[in-house]
Amino acid sequence: MSGPGVGWYLIVAALLFGTGALGVMLRRSPLIVLLSLEIMLNAANLTLIAFARQHGSLDGQVFALVVMGVAAAEVAIGLGLIVAMARRRLPLDVDQASALRG
């Protein structure tokens, strides 16, 4: 393969994952937390596909496809929760949704 080796993709994935993780840990809007989660999942997908290329085996791609499906399900539920929160006039702020505090 001419062009960048798999390691370069992994570095991109690592940076992307870190960005997403920061988003999840820092942002207070549930919507953006959800989006950051998607970024983390996509970073993982990138590593899966990169390793699939590395080993010449499609298993990684299959797994990435499964991750996509699960991510879609996750967004559906997450958005459902957010809409339900908004409908009940709850604040859209993950710090204030702390009814489960011990």
Partner: protein, 176 residues
């Protein structure tokens, strides 16, 4: 020549990918964040193409960008101004810890990559043209990974039911 072109495309896609990633996390308005994520997904699709994962690239655009994010934007439009939220805040300790953890994670990944770099990371396996084609992936999906496939479909079904349940307005609420 071709190798140089690939490098150029890779660099552009990777830069776009990281840039949009940072944009997703940093925009105050979730609408822009979502739009940035669409850009992120598109640039990732380009990276997938470079890794000979054509079908996944197309699926990424179709499923993620095409359906999931449309749904996301729909919800954002529905929420309107209520979607706006404070950028950050909370305990400073938490913020510091988050940044430290993220940086530590990055450093670790880079270190691990560096340790593995010399082994074989730079010479990937030879692949044929059928690598990453829908037929090949589909066959794997319903043979070796049938269980994962079925479980995923059940997860999706549960999510669909859950979405309907969450979205249903109960009689009582409707009259309020």
């Amino acid at each position: 020549m071709a190798g140089f072109l690939v490098w150029v495309i890779w660099f552009a896609a990777a830069a776009a990918c990281l840039g949009t990633g940072v944009a997703v996390v940093s925009f105050a308005n979730p609408f822009y964040s979502a739009l940035s994520l669409i850009g992120n997904l598109a640039s990732l699709a380009v990276l997938y193409l470079l890794l000979s994962a054509e079908f996944l690239a197309a699926a990424q655009v179709l499923v993620y960008a095409g359906s999931v994010m449309v749904m996301f934007l729909f919800v954002l439009a529905y929420l309107g101004g209520r979607a706006d939220a404070p950028w950050a805040g909370g305990p400073p300790l938490l913020r510091t810890a988050a940044i430290v953890a993220a940086v530590a994670l990055l450093v670790e990944i880079v270190v691990v990559l560096g340790l593995a770099w010399g082994d074989n990371l730079s010479d990937p396996a030879e692949v044929t043209g059928a690598f990453g084609s829908p037929a090949a992936i589909g066959e794997l999906l319903v043979t070796d990974h049938l269980l994962a496939f079925e479980i995923t479909s059940i997860v999706l079904l549960v999510a669909a039911v859950g979405g309907v349940v969450l979205g249903t307005t109960r009689e009582k609420e409707a009259t309020e």
